[in-house]
C-alpha cells in the first residue's frame, strides 16, 4: 500500500484578473521508490475493470463538508468515466448498499455482489479554517485491500479539485495514463452581451474565458469590451496568448492569468493574429501583414528573434506546432482553396498535406499520436477530420450535425474540444478521439475556438 501526502497549491498571489482566485495545479507526488510493487486491479478476462465510487464520507458534520463529500464522489466518478479505462458502475445502483462510515466498515460483499472490481472510498474532514483534509483509497474488492491510498489537504474553496487530483492519481497508478481531470479549456465568448464601444461595425464583444475540462468553474479572463479571439494556452498552462482588438486593430497579447500581467510581444508592428505556442513555451508562431501580405512569423516570447517563415502572395495563416517543435502546419490558399501545408520551423521544406474542398484550423496532436485534426468543408458546414501523418489516412469524427470547427487536442491526445452549431448557437463540445462520447461544455451565449491546456 502506498501512502503519500500531497498538498494542493492554494492561495495564489492576488491579481487583477478574475482567474487569480484559482488554485494552480497541485505539485506532483513524491517520486515512487523503485522497489515498490504497484498493484493494479484487473477485471474478468476481456472486460474492463469495474469501478464504483460512492459519495465520500464526511467526517465533520457541518453542511459544507457533507455537500463537498457528495460532490467529490460525483466528480471523481465523472473523471474516471471520461477516460473510458474502467467500466463505471452507475451511481443510482448503489442505494441498496449501506454507506460506510469509515474505511473499516466497508461492506465488500455487497460491492462484490454489484460486480465491482475496484471501489474508491474517500473521506473529507475540516482542517483548520477554510481547509479540507481528504483521504482517498482505491480498494481491490476481491482481495479487500487498498491498492492506492492518497491524502490531500488544502483550501475548501474548490472541492472538485480534490476529486480531479485523485482521478489523475488513479489513472496514473492503475493504467499508467496521464489523465486530464486537472486540465482547463479556454475559449472566447460573447455571453456577456456587451457591444463594442465606438466600433465601425456593430461587432459583438468577445472576451476570453477559461473553464475546467468538464465545463465547471467558467471564468472570464479579459475585460476589454473589445474583440478577443483565438486563445491558446501556454504549455505551462499559466498564460494565454490570443488575438485582441483592444487597441482597435488586431494584435497578439499574452495574459499571465495567475499574475494578472499582460504582455504584447508583437508590440503593434503591423496587424498580428493567431499566436501559437511552441511546445517548450519559448516561441510564438503567428500571422502578420507587417510586410504587406498575410505571412507566418516566429518570434521569441519576449518579441525578439523575429523569423519570417513563408513568402507567397497567397494567404498563410492558423499555424500549429508539431509536438517536437520542429515543424509547423498551417493553412494557405496558394492552390486556390484553403489547404493544410507543413513547413519546418526554420521556414524550409514546405509541402502540401490535404487536397479537399476547404480545410481550416489545423491542430497537431500531442505525442504519441502523430496526426493533425482540422475542419473540413463537407457540405453547408464543416466537420472535424483527423489526418494520420504516418498512414496518410483521414477519418471523419463528426458527421453533418451542425457545423463543427476548430478542434483542439487534450494533452493526452485521447480527446478533442471543438465548436459546433449542432444545438443552434455556437457552443464548445468535447469528444473522444474516436468521435464518441460527445459532451457539451458551454451553454451561455455563443462560444468559439476552444484550446485545451497542456
Amino acid at each position: 500500500m502506498r501512502h503519500s501526502r500531497v498538498t494542493l497549491a492554494a492561495g495564489l498571489a492576488a491579481a487583477g484578473l478574475a482567474a487569480a482566485a484559482w488554485p494552480g495545479r497541485a505539485p506532483e507526488a513524491a517520486p515512487q521508490q523503485p522497489t515498490e510493487v504497484i498493484l493494479s486491479i484487473s477485471g474478468e478476462a476481456g472486460a474492463r475493470p469495474r469501478y464504483a465510487v460512492p459519495d465520500f464520507i464526511a467526517r465533520t458534520a457541518d453542511a459544507e463538508t457533507q455537500a463537498a463529500a457528495a460532490l467529490m464522489g460525483t466528480v471523481l466518478w465523472d473523471d474516471l468515466a471520461f477516460e473510458r479505462e474502467f467500466y463505471m458502475i452507475p451511481r443510482d445502483t448503489y442505494r441498496t448498499i449501506p454507506a460506510a462510515r469509515s474505511f473499516a466498515d466497508i461492506p465488500f460483499d455487497r460491492w462484490r455482489e454489484l460486480g465491482a472490481d475496484g471501489l474508491v472510498v474517500g473521506t473529507v474532514e475540516r482542517a483548520g479554517a477554510g481547509g479540507f483534509r481528504v483521504e482517498v483509497r482505491l480498494f481491490d474488492v476481491r482481495a479487500r485491500r487498498s491498492v492506492v491510498a492518497k491524502e490531500y489537504s488544502g483550501s475548501a474553496a474548490n472541492p472538485r479539485l480534490y476529486a480531479h487530483t485523485a482521478a489523475d492519481d488513479i489513472h496514473q497508478q492503475q493504467r499508467a495514463l496521464r489523465g486530464v481531470a486537472r486540465t482547463k479549456l479556454t475559449f472566447s465568448s460573447d455571453r456577456d452581451g456587451e457591444r463594442v464601444a465606438n466600433a465601425v461595425s456593430a461587432r459583438d464583444v468577445k472576451e476570453i474565458y477559461i473553464a475546467d475540462y468538464d465545463g465547471a468553474n467558467q471564468r472570464r479572463v479579459t475585460v476589454t469590451r473589445k474583440l478577443n479571439i483565438m486563445p491558446r494556452w501556454s504549455p505551462d498552462a499559466r498564460s494565454i496568448a490570443y488575438t485582441s482588438y483592444r487597441r482597435d486593430f488586431p494584435d497578439v497579447y499574452v495574459s499571465q492569468i495567475y499574475q494578472g500581467a499582460l504582455e504584447n510581444p508583437t508590440g503593434g508592428r503591423g496587424q498580428n493574429w493567431l499566436p501559437a505556442w511552441s511546445p517548450d513555451g519559448t516561441r510564438l508562431c503567428f500571422t502578420s501583414t507587417r510586410d504587406g501580405n498575410s505571412e507566418l512569423y516566429v518570434m521569441n516570447r519576449d518579441g525578439t528573434g523575429l523569423l519570417r517563415l513563408t513568402t507567397h502572395p497567397a494567404i498563410d495563416t492558423t499555424p500549429t506546432w508539431s509536438p517536437g517543435g520542429t515543424q509547423i502546419a498551417f493553412v494557405s490558399d496558394r492552390s486556390g482553396s484553403p489547404q493544410i501545408y507543413i513547413v519546418d520551423a526554420d521556414g524550409l521544406n514546405l509541402r502540401r498535406l490535404t487536397s479537399e474542398s476547404w480545410c481550416d484550423r489545423p491542430t497537431w496532436s500531442p505525442a504519441p499520436f502523430n496526426e493533425i485534426a482540422y475542419a473540413s468543408k463537407t457540405g453547408p458546414g464543416y466537420d472535424i477530420v483527423i489526418y494520420d501523418l504516418a498512414t496518410q489516412e483521414r477519418r471523419q469524427l463528426t458527421s453533418g450535425r451542425g457545423s463543427n470547427e476548430s478542434p483542439a487536442y487534450a494533452p493526452n491526445g485521447r480527446h478533442l474540444a471543438f465548436m459546433s452549431t449542432r444545438t443552434g448557437r455556437t457552443q464548445i463540445f468535447v469528444m473522444g478521439r474516436d468521435g464518441q462520447d460527445v459532451r457539451q461544455i458551454t451553454t451561455a451565449g455563443n462560444n468559439y475556438t476552444p484550446d485545451w491546456s497542456r
Binding site: G46, Y87, P90, T93, E113, L114
Partner: protein, 153 residues
C-alpha cells in the same frame, strides 16, 4: 401490412400482384399482434446441450424448441427464487436487486443483447416477468426461454 394501391398494380401489370390484393383480407395481420404480445421482449424457445447447464433446474418441456448453437449468457431462475429472490448468472448467485446492473456489465463490449433464461418449470409467470423486467432494464433485446425436449431427462 400495407395494402398496395390499385393504380400501382395496373402500372406494374403483373397478374400475381393483383391477385394478392384481392386475397389480402383472408390473411391474418400478425404485425400488431406481435407488437401487443411482445412489447416487453423478443422471446424464443430453445434447448441447450447438457454441457451448457449451470445450476440444475427442472426445465419446462417443449416439443418445438430449437437447439442453441452458440456460447451464450445463461440466466437460471431456480424454484428457490420464490424464497430468496436470487437467480444465477452463469453459476454466480445474484439477488434480483442488482441483476440489471450485473447483466449490463456482462453486456459491456458485446454486440448481441441476448440472454437465455433457464427457468424452472415450476416458476410462476409473475416471477419470470419480474426477472425479464430486470433484463429489459439492462438493455436486453432478446430473451430465449430454455426448454428440454420431451425425450430429454
Amino acid at each position: 401490412m400495407p395494402k398496395v394501391s390499385p393504380t400501382e398494380e395496373i402500372s406494374t401489370g403483373r397478374s400475381g400482384r393483383v391477385r394478392r390484393v384481392t386475397s389480402s383480407m383472408s390473411e391474418i395481420n400478425v404485425v400488431p399482434l406481435v407488437d401487443v404480445m411482445l412489447v416487453l421482449l423478443i422471446i424464443f424457445m430453445v434447448t441447450a446441450p447438457m454441457l451448457q447447464r449451470g445450476v440444475d433446474v427442472n426445465l419446462p418441456v417443449a416439443r418445438r424448441a430449437e437447439a442453441i448453437a452458440e456460447e451464450r449468457v445463461f440466466l437460471t431462475v431456480p424454484l428457490t427464487y420464490r424464497k430468496d429472490r436470487a437467480v444465477r448468472l452463469g453459476t454466480e448467485r445474484i439477488v434480483i436487486d442488482v441483476l440489471a446492473e450485473r447483466v449490463r456489465q456482462m453486456m459491456d463490449g458485446r454486440d448481441d443483447r441476448k440472454v437465455f433464461l433457464r427457468g424452472d418449470g415450476g416458476i410462476l409467470l409473475q416471477e419470470l416477468l419480474e426477472v425479464m423486467d430486470r433484463l429489459k432494464e439492462a438493455g436486453i433485446e432478446q430473451v430465449g426461454i430454455v426448454a428440454k425436449l420431451p425425450e430429454e431427462r
